[in-house]
């Protein structure tokens, strides 16, 4: 029987298999660009259309305005999530991988918990007159979800998580700039992430 004669090749192969099998690679820069664009439009609408301008955490608006803000948030979140999933599916097909594999499952299952907690806390905050805290809550909980996701995917996601954390704390400490921080985190943050991703891929 033939024995191993090339340990260098063996180790390289082991390493590549370990990496490939444990990393979620079905990502595209367009996910960031689109999420950033939706978020920027949403933030603009909240600021100028709905005149959302808290000065402190405690900030209440008439029920109608709160509903409009909630719908705006959904109008950003749903298209961003749907396009993200669609681009991941397409990328998975390009890579010849099934879209719904164990890595995807782990990634999404882990992200779902902080996202759901954050979403519920935002609703409770809105009901209890703490609208000024919501931008910070959204950024910080989203960042937690990203930190989890970063364990299973490309390192750029971790950088994005740090950026969202920084803007999240800025929004919490300076609620009068909460919406601006939200726009910078969700809007500009995602745009920069998406564009760098696309540029790197083009090279």
């Amino acid at each position: 029987m033939k024995t191993h004669t090339d340990p260098v090749r063996d180790l390289a192969e082991i390493r590549s298999l370990m990496e490939r099998s444990s990393t979620f690679r079905a990502l595209s820069g367009w996910q960031g660009v689109l999420a950033g664009a939706f978020a920027s439009v949403g933030a603009g609408f909240a600021a100028w259309g709905l005149e959302f301008a808290p000065q402190a955490w405690a900030y209440a608006l008439p029920a109608e305005a709160v509903r409009a803000l909630g719908l705006t948030a959904l109008a950003v979140l749903v298209p961003a999530a749907v396009t993200a999933l669609a681009f991941s599916r397409r990328k998975a097909a390009e890579l010849g991988e099934p879209a719904w594999n164990p890595t995807t499952r782990r990634l999404l299952a882990g992200m779902a918990v902080p996202m759901a907690s954050g979403g519920l806390l935002c609703v409770l905050g809105a009901v209890n007159g703490l609208l000024g805290l919501i931008p910070a809550l959204m950024l910080l909980f989203y960042a937690s979800a990203l930190f989890h996701a970063a364990r299973f995917t490309i390192p750029a996601v971790r950088t994005l998580a740090y950026v969202q954390t920084a803007f999240g704390w800025a929004a919490a400490l300076f609620p009068e700039y909460g919406l601006l921080c939200w726009a910078l985190g969700f809007g500009a943050g995602h745009l920069v992430y998406g564009i760098t991703f696309l540029m790197r891929e083009a090279r």
Binding site: D10, E13, L17, S21, P102
Partner: protein, 101 residues
Amino acid sequence: MRPALDQLHKAFESRIRLGIMSMLAANESVDFTSLKLHLDLTDGNLASHLKALEKEGFIQVEKTFVGRKPNTEYRITYEGRSAFDHHLQALESLIKKHIQT
């Protein structure tokens, strides 16, 4: 035979088995389809290698149902991980020796 080669576990002589162990070492658990996909094997070929590793006590099999579809997940056992680590060390020491001579 050179001593370092003795340290290389027999079960890992096959590239495919080494590949399976690499994937199981990097993930909590891996299903049959993912193994097949990453290692580019046929069902029968993969199954026979998995059987051999299971017999060795290196991997653990879990059969469940996802809806009505059967799903088989594989995990590395404690023995499997230590044998795998040992094998990696042996490979590294082989490389070091090669550099020295």
